[in-house]
């Protein structure tokens, strides 16, 4: 397992896919929030109307906006990297080299998920640090306890978003296609939006993390967040099982 984790880590670290996705998720989110802040500060009525509560020029407004971007954009960004991690073996043809090894395909799949999980935590942490820097640069002052709580929720939101995206790995494996996996991630975003619009609230596991972060932790229960984690766990289990039984039958 250790060998497979080391291999997957070096592949993600050296690949432009991991670097670009990290820059897009961290730098892109910060740039977007800085732009919204500039537009709101400049009195852009259209942006103020669209941003809603996130148009408030303080920690609360900025973190609310960050949560919205993370929930949707994070799912797509995380989904793209996760799909690439699994689908590339089929599109690059390297899958044949992953047979006849003492490291089983099931362990390789778990190693891929482990490295993905570590990357999600790193990206979420980096984004949180970036948000703190942005808030301080914008002059929002020293964070108080309430702000620190919101900052912590933002970091957890990033990780939970990464967890809800795990089923994209199964789609990428089943379709043996990067676009198939990304399509799966887009499907998860759509499902989350439809669930939110239908009023499922915290019981819609794909939308629960965003609702939890936006409500300051009041609108979603622990049981509902557990369901979110369960979606990721089931996705991971199904992916492991599929890789364990993988054959290359045409």
């Amino acid at each position: 397992m250790n060998a497979a984790v080391r291999v997957e880590a070096v592949k993600l670290r050296r690949s432009p896919v991991g670097v670009v996705a990290t820059m897009a998720l961290v730098g892109g989110t910060l740039a977007l929030l800085a732009g919204i802040t500039a537009a709101v500060a400049g009195g852009d009525a259209a942006v103020i109307a669209k941003a809603g509560a996130a148009a408030s020029l303080d920690w609360e407004g900025m973190l609310l906006g960050a949560g919205q971007v993370t929930a949707a954009g994070g799912m797509l960004g995380f989904g793209a990297v996760l799909s690439w991690t699994f689908a590339r073996e089929f599109t690059d043809g390297t899958i044949t080299g992953l047979f006849a090894l003492p490291v089983t395909r099931g362990r390789i799949a778990l190693a891929k998920l482990t490295v993905y999980g570590a990357w999600v935590v790193a990206v979420s942490g980096l984004l949180t640090l970036g948000l703190l820097g942005l808030g301080l640069a914008l002059g929002y002052g020293t964070p108080d306890t309430t702000v620190w709580d919101a900052v912590a929720r933002q970091c957890v939101l990033g990780v939970l978003t990464g967890i809800t995206t795990v089923p994209a790995a199964l789609v990428a494996t089943a379709t043996r296609s990067l676009l198939g996996g990304v399509g799966g991630a887009i499907g998860l975003v759509v499902l989350a939006q439809v669930g939110a619009l239908a009023g499922a609230g915290g019981w819609m596991p794909l939308a629960a993390p965003a609702l939890w972060a936006a409500s300051g932790g009041t609108a979603v229960t622990g049981a509902q967040l557990t369901l979110t984690v369960a979606v990721g766990a089931v996705g991971a289990l199904a992916t492991w099982w599929t890789w364990s039984r993988l054959t290359l039958r045409r």
């Binding site: 592949k11 432009p16 080299g97």
Partner: protein, 239 residues
Amino acid sequence: MLRLDGVSLAFGGGDGVHDLTLSVAAGEVVALVGLNGAGKSTLMRLALGMLRPTHGAVHLFGVPLAATPARSWSRVGALIEVPLAYPELTTRENLHVAALLRHADPRCVERSLGEWQLGPVADRRFRRLSLGTRQRVGLAAALQHEPDLVILDEPSNALDPASVILLREQLARRAGAGGAVVVSSHHLDEVARTADRTVLMNRGRLIGELDTAGQDLEREFFARIHDDDRRAGVTAAAR
């Protein structure tokens, strides 16, 4: 080392392999020859667990494939179609990856870079290598851990004459050390130089051995294929 007992696998459309029985002993180099679509790659994929037979059984080191412990695979080196190498990694990094995944001593990487004359491109990314050099990297990755069983599908593809000699020497060394080698090839002359036994495949079946000591290998090869087709009632147009 490797044994296939009456192995069959049918694909959609009637393709597949039928009743394959083959044994490869320690110290032996066995070549598989046949036309495109004869089933050589399918046989190798079955031997390596990439495909599951519908009938028959594959035995690896005397153990049925389904019961083969994972650690036994560290004694196998294979290259099927595409090298186990990633475009974003350098030659050296790719060989390290191959060593890690086979639980091999990482020191084998530097030795392998020398043996396969990959030193000048050791720190060059795989995506920037020529086709022939990529193939050499793939072969180095498959053989650097000195496996007891070697299975290579068309290993001389894209190799220049010097690399073909390197490959020949490496295979002879593995066999000399008691390893078993299975290679598929289209190059009959090369097969004649490398293999102890040359097994003919046609239409998904093993149809016997080819005597590589003969004067005109091509004529003998096509005569056997034609004879098998004639017996099966296959015409050139149908093929």
